[in-house]
């Protein structure tokens, strides 16, 4: 083979090899680490898988936050004003976690329909609403139309 062509072939083979290895790695990692978001309504309707890592979120229901008196365990309900889901968490909640505030939690839905969170996220600006929750609330409103006012009044 012509030396220039041979060189080019070598370079291209190297690129293809590295790229395919990277693509394989990416596909594998994406499969493992994508976390789908489910609204309380979707969870209530059984759309969310059990015992798989997912994200759930909504507005924290007023008066629903219950703390354990000896440990850092805490339980609270989140709602999209259609359905509620109970979230259990052990640890320190973020500064902007408050009743009536939108939050997103990551964790697993157990067999009792309780969401066991490993991470609770509230955003760092109180004006800011996670887009997933804005949309979940909009969808919930659209499905009935009645609760629009109650959504408005909570902000």
């Amino acid at each position: 083979m012509h030396p220039v062509r041979k060189k080019r072939l070598l370079v291209i083979t190297a690129i293809v090899l590295i790229l395919s290895a990277a693509v394989g790695l990416v596909m594998y990692a994406l499969q493992q680490n994508i976390n789908l978001f489910f609204s309380p309504s979707q969870i209530a309707m059984g759309e969310a898988p059990r015992n798989a890592i997912i994200r759930a979120g909504g507005m924290v229901v007023k008066g629903s936050v219950k703390r354990n008196s000896d440990t850092l365990a805490v339980a609270f309900d989140v709602t999209d004003f259609q359905h509620k889901v109970t979230i259990e968490y052990r640890g320190i909640l973020p500064d902007l976690f408050r009743e009536g505030q939108g939050i997103v939690a990551q964790g697993k839905l157990n067999n009792d329909g309780v969401f066991e969170a490993t991470e609770v996220l509230a955003k760092h600006d109180e004006k800011y609403m996670p887009p997933e929750i804005t949309e979940a609330l909009k969808n919930a409103q659209r499905s009935t139309g009645e609760s629009a006012e109650s959504v408005q009044s909570t902000y």
Partner: protein
């Protein structure tokens, strides 16, 4: 009155930017010297006008002029004076003004140095920068003017700066980061000017290199500062979150790193020319993409500015015009600048090519992970988030591979390397590196990834030093005179590479040897974390300039001896009704003690985070070394000689 002058001066500067974008180019096509020479004065006037509006907006902040909407939203009369000034870039409008100010600053710097370039190229570079300025100035003026007024109902006081931003980090992080981001537009302008004029030879790479190195150094420092700020300010002790906005700054860094290396090949050997130009365009595009991700609110992130769809569309349009235009130009002209020199597959060129491939792949994997939720959503598949494990599991192996080659590259010769010599040096180093890494890991807990990473770290250190030693011990002169003779460029590279190693060691040791615990403690309680005993001494109420705080006192004991007293705070900012965690740190060379308060629980109990993190400082120390390396490389005598001519 003053804010209107600021606005007016911005509008004027837009006109000057427009002329800067057009007149020199017309001059270039017509071959008119006079028109070409307008580029420098136009640049200086434009920059001065932007500076005037920046100064006026700072004055509005410092004098609490709440008739200006942006000031009213982001400041407060009780804010300490240095935060009043930095509040200027605490929101979207002001930070964009800062961006434009820095952009015009870079333009002026180029205009000052331009005499070293051939007569017709300099003005074209400035004209391309002018186009970029037009884009950002019109973005600022048409979608987000910081001078909009609240008249006649002037609020009595402002809405205050987000408490998270009331910190030293906000004063330094954005300006430094923008210096880096925006600096890449200079490399972009050089690339586009080279395409326009068709004047793409090795000297092109020599002009572009110091500019790229300086921007890269700033971006490195900016990212390092951001990581350090997040670590102590967000109150949960992480130093990197793979947050979309962090990725937005990281992608141009990766591409910029690739650009630095391919510029080196283009300068020294005249190969990879068209690839280098393309990389310069990509690096700048990634900076723009970063701006889009941060400012359009399409992605969930801790940095999100309040979202406004028109802004997103404007940046997207800007991105399409600038990137699309330059790629079109590239498609038309690139064929003319193809390299004619060939390179050997055993030479240093090949290693640098490998470096570029791996860095590009890294950039793409980060890009994919960042944009995947958008793609997923656009296809109607649902709302997802891509977690940090994705990035860790994809990034770590490729980055380690890159570092293995990073040590080999400098050791090899241009064009062709003798394999036998090469193999001898490498195999000895590999052997020592594996052994010493094994020894270190044996002292801690055994962890395969940690062992592998440390082996890579030792490998780079050994090979770098043996390369240096080989260079200084050759020849008849003594070691010290030879060491002095080596170019700064070389020492810059050495320092940057070792900096990356230091960062790697920090990352590895933090991940395998951190102890984190969340506890429920009352004053008087004690807790043991990683051999340190933490005593919760007391809790008191204190008053700050614009907040009230619960301030805790913890004493850390090691083997019965007090080693540190820590004061974590929980601050309540009344203007915004917002609570902020202020973590307390005892920083050390080999370990950090970290205490932060969670919520107050029943009675006097508090949720408390106590972390002991080993070698976390090394992550940022390495960043500083990389920055210094970049600056050192930019200061190489080669570039300065040209400047003197």
């Amino acid at each position: 009155m003053f804010p209107e002058i600021g606005q007016f001066s911005l509008i004027l500067s837009l006109f000057f930017a427009l002329s800067l974008a057009l007149v020199p180019l017309i001059g270039y096509w017509k071959g008119n010297r006079l028109l070409l020479e307008t580029a420098r004065p136009l640049t200086f006037i434009m920059s001065a006008l932007v500076l005037v509006s920046f100064v006026i907006l700072s004055l509005s902040f410092l004098t609490d002029d709440f008739s200006v909407l942006y000031v009213a939203q982001n400041s407060n009369s009780q804010l300490p004076v240095w935060y009043k000034f930095s509040a200027l870039w605490g929101g979207h409008e002001g930070s964009l003004l800062l961006w434009v100010l820095i952009l015009s600053g870079w333009c002026s710097a180029v205009a000052l140095k331009i005499r070293t370039l051939p007569e017709d190229i300099g003005p074209v570079v400035l004209a391309v920068l002018g186009v970029v300025c037009v884009g950002f100035l019109s973005f600022l003026l048409f979608t987000s003017s910081p001078f909009a007024r609240l008249l006649p109902d002037v609020p009595a006081d402002g809405g205050d700066l987000n408490p998270l931003l009331q910190d030293f980090g906000l004063i330094v992080h954005p300006p430094v980061l923008y210096m880096g981001y925006v600096g890449f537009s200079v490399a972009f302008a050089f690339a586009v000017a080279a395409l326009i004029t068709g004047n793409l030879n090795a000297s092109w790479a020599r002009w572009a290199r110091p500019w790229t190195a300086v921007s890269w150094a700033f971006l490195t420092l900016g990212i390092t500062l951001g990581s350090w700020w997040a670590y102590y300010e967000l109150g949960w002790g992480g130093w990197w979150f793979w947050d979309p906005v962090e990725n937005a700054s990281f992608m141009p860094w990766l591409a910029g790193t690739a650009l630095l290396h391919s510029l080196a090949v283009t300068e020294k050997r005249g190969v990879f020319k068209s690839w280098t130009v393309l990389l310069a365009i990509f690096t700048f595009s990634l900076s723009l993409l970063g701006a889009f991700l941060v400012r359009s609110g399409v992605l969930t992130s801790v940095h999100s500015f309040a979202a406004d769809p028109t802004r997103g569309i404007f940046i997207l349009a800007l991105l399409l015009v600038l990137v699309g235009g330059s790629l079109l130009l590239y498609a038309i002209r690139a064929a003319e600048v193809r390299s004619t020199v060939s390179f050997g597959v055993t030479g240093r060129e090949a290693w640098l090519l490998l470096n570029n491939i791996l860095l590009t792949v890294l950039t793409l994997t980060v890009l994919l992970g960042t944009l995947y939720p958008l793609i997923f959503d656009a296809l109607g598949l649902g709302k997802i988030s891509v977690g940090a494990p994705y990035f860790n599991s994809v990034f770590a192996p490729i980055a380690l591979l890159l570092m293995v080659f990073m040590a080999v590259g400098p050791l090899s010769k241009w064009h062709h390397t003798k394999f036998r010599v090469f193999f001898k040096v490498c195999s000895i180093s590999a052997f020592i590196a594996t052994l010493s890494a094994g020894l270190v890991v044996y002292c801690y807990e055994f962890d395969f990834i940690a062992w592998l990473s440390l082996a890579v770290a030792f490998w780079v250190v050994f090979l770098s030093f043996s390369d240096w030693f080989g260079k200084v011990s050759a020849g008849t002169k003594g070691i010290i005179p030879r060491a002095r003779q080596l170019p700064r460029n070389y020492y810059g590279m050495l320092l940057a590479h070792l900096g990356l190693v230091v960062t790697l060691v920090g990352i590895v040791l933090v991940s395998v040897n951190s102890h984190e615990s969340m506890l429920r403690l009352s004053p008087g309680d004690r807790a043991t974390v990683a051999g340190y005993e933490f005593q919760f001494d007391q809790m008191e109420q204190v008053k700050g300039p614009n907040y009230v705080a619960s301030k805790g006192q913890f004493t850390a004991y090691k083997a019965g001896k007090a080693v540190a007293v820590l004061h974590p705070e929980k601050r309540f900012f009344s203007t915004r009704q917002q609570v902020m965690t202020e973590a307390a740190l005892d920083a050390g060379f080999t370990r950090d003690l970290y205490v932060s308060l969670g919520e107050r629980l029943e009675g006097s109990a508090w949720g408390v985070r106590i972390y002991v993190k080993s070698f976390v400082r090394w992550i940022w120390l390495g960043g500083l070394m990389m920055m210094a390396g970049g600056l050192l490389a930019a200061l190489d005598k080669r570039y300065r000689k040209r400047a003197g001519v």
